[in-house]
Symmetry: C2
Subunit: 336 residues, 2 copies
Amino acid sequence: MNLTRQPSPAAVYNPRMLSEFDLIKQFFRRDRPGRATLGIGDDCALLTPTPGRQLAISSDMLVEDRHFFAGADPFMLGHKALAVNLSDLAAMGAQPVAFTLALALPAADPAWLDGFSRGLFALADACGCELVGGDTTRGPLNICITVFGELVPGHALRRDAARVGDDIWISGTLGDARLALAGYWKELALSPDDQQAAAQRMHLPSPRVALGLALAAQPVAHAALDISDGLVGDLGHILAASRVGATLDVDALPAGPVLARQDRGLRRRFTAAGGDDYELCFTAPVANREKVLEAGRASGTAVTRVGKIDAEPGLRLVDSDGAALDLRLSGWDHFS
Amino acid sequence: MNLTRQPSPAAVYNPRMLSEFDLIKQFFRRDRPGRATLGIGDDCALLTPTPGRQLAISSDMLVEDRHFFAGADPFMLGHKALAVNLSDLAAMGAQPVAFTLALALPAADPAWLDGFSRGLFALADACGCELVGGDTTRGPLNICITVFGELVPGHALRRDAARVGDDIWISGTLGDARLALAGYWKELALSPDDQQAAAQRMHLPSPRVALGLALAAQPVAHAALDISDGLVGDLGHILAASRVGATLDVDALPAGPVLARQDRGLRRRFTAAGGDDYELCFTAPVANREKVLEAGRASGTAVTRVGKIDAEPGLRLVDSDGAALDLRLSGWDHFS
């Protein structure tokens, strides 16, 4: 219901004016058999859980001018809004099943909706994750996705499961998204090609779903999370939940291809505390090193060993010689 | 991650400045055993579904100045944000289990968060629905809740299940929320007492969870939905999905206690197409009349028979003598 406008009689037909129901029908309802017992169009969606599986649930809200720039490309935004949620499933080792989408839009713009829904469904289809319901309303642009996955009980990659002696691993590469942001912010000047290449990583992150599944099988890994607010801050959550410390070899952190060509100071800062990486940070016993590498190969995802879980509390940053580094890094905090 | 501000070093301690993590810990994390296998604090929440049950999922987004007034009382807002979602579960006949909360806030105001979280949890606890995860970010005030319920396969009260000859029933009373809005909008003048009484219905709707469960058992009812955008528009969804028509006795519609004292024209308009009612509209076979009344008694919810499902398409509004009424009503559309 709408407090600020009274209901209006049917407007003269205008192809650029979409009702809430037309909007859902045209861009988000798909006539194909899905996993859901009942999808979009009723008070609730109905899902029949796979017997014996646990349900993993995550919710992320993306706000204009906070998580993305005003005027952001709608296709990339559709991709990213789902990708950041799938990344949470990946970090638990869960198989994506379904998601809901709640969308506040300043206007029902068909061109924007077309791009957004194409970006959203391209990734959803690639990951076998079905849109089963949601909400649309008018308001400042806000995208809230809640995603559902399934996993074998006891196989979830929890933040509190790191053990002293575990290796710390990183998927893919870090820092190119932060580098793109530095370019947008004019903190540094990148060539147009470099800016575009780095921006791809920022706008089109690849959720590491296949790697997460491979790491949760058996399970190969102990603890995991996805790196959204910068590695140092996010790793801190594993350390706190697991009541352990860690030593991180900052020079071992895999930099994105554009960042890899920048100077060492920038590489260190942006790999260790960049943000918006959507890579996995996980811990695994030393005995599983070969299995971790095999999980990386099987999922087509690079994995790099970057540190060690210690009994001593706190996070120690060291260089490639093991000497302490004082980098003064911090994670993102939306309310600091 | 935050595009518009750079990460800042730890600020000087200020009790009115809350970090994102403090905010969640202080207002939303509760140290009590719950239904979830893993709750707030990891990448995903983990739920273990009840064997043999289906999962019902619904998502609603509430936007300031659209679904509630700027400056709305935070306790009532916390109640209402969850109530509108529980109302969707009620309309399917599902048992509430858990929910996620994504919250965009202009600022982390402890007084607001205290009221909001108290209103939210008062209703959550009353319905046995556990907060298992979510997201907080800075942005224009936006509340997105996704709720999960469980039901016996085949017992869901779907919109497409109305049958020709079914009675149409309404829970509770209609129109007082719309009357309160008319008072706010100065469409009419209510006494302060009447305005306040009507506003209670607008701000603190009671989701009809117990009635929904009673109607889905056996099942007693065929089709159901919750009335959020006005009865006439919402009943239209049942008619379209079930490919049937209906005759509605507008004078039989149960008006809220304040609206019941207004003139007949206003009663008819606001009961038939008020909006923000969060009552159930459901259909049931004539043979189940006694069972419907018993479901109402068992759940402590008034139920009123207001019409009939017809084979002839379309919705016919009639008065208490069965004469056709032309009321020119329409439902809410957030994008019209």
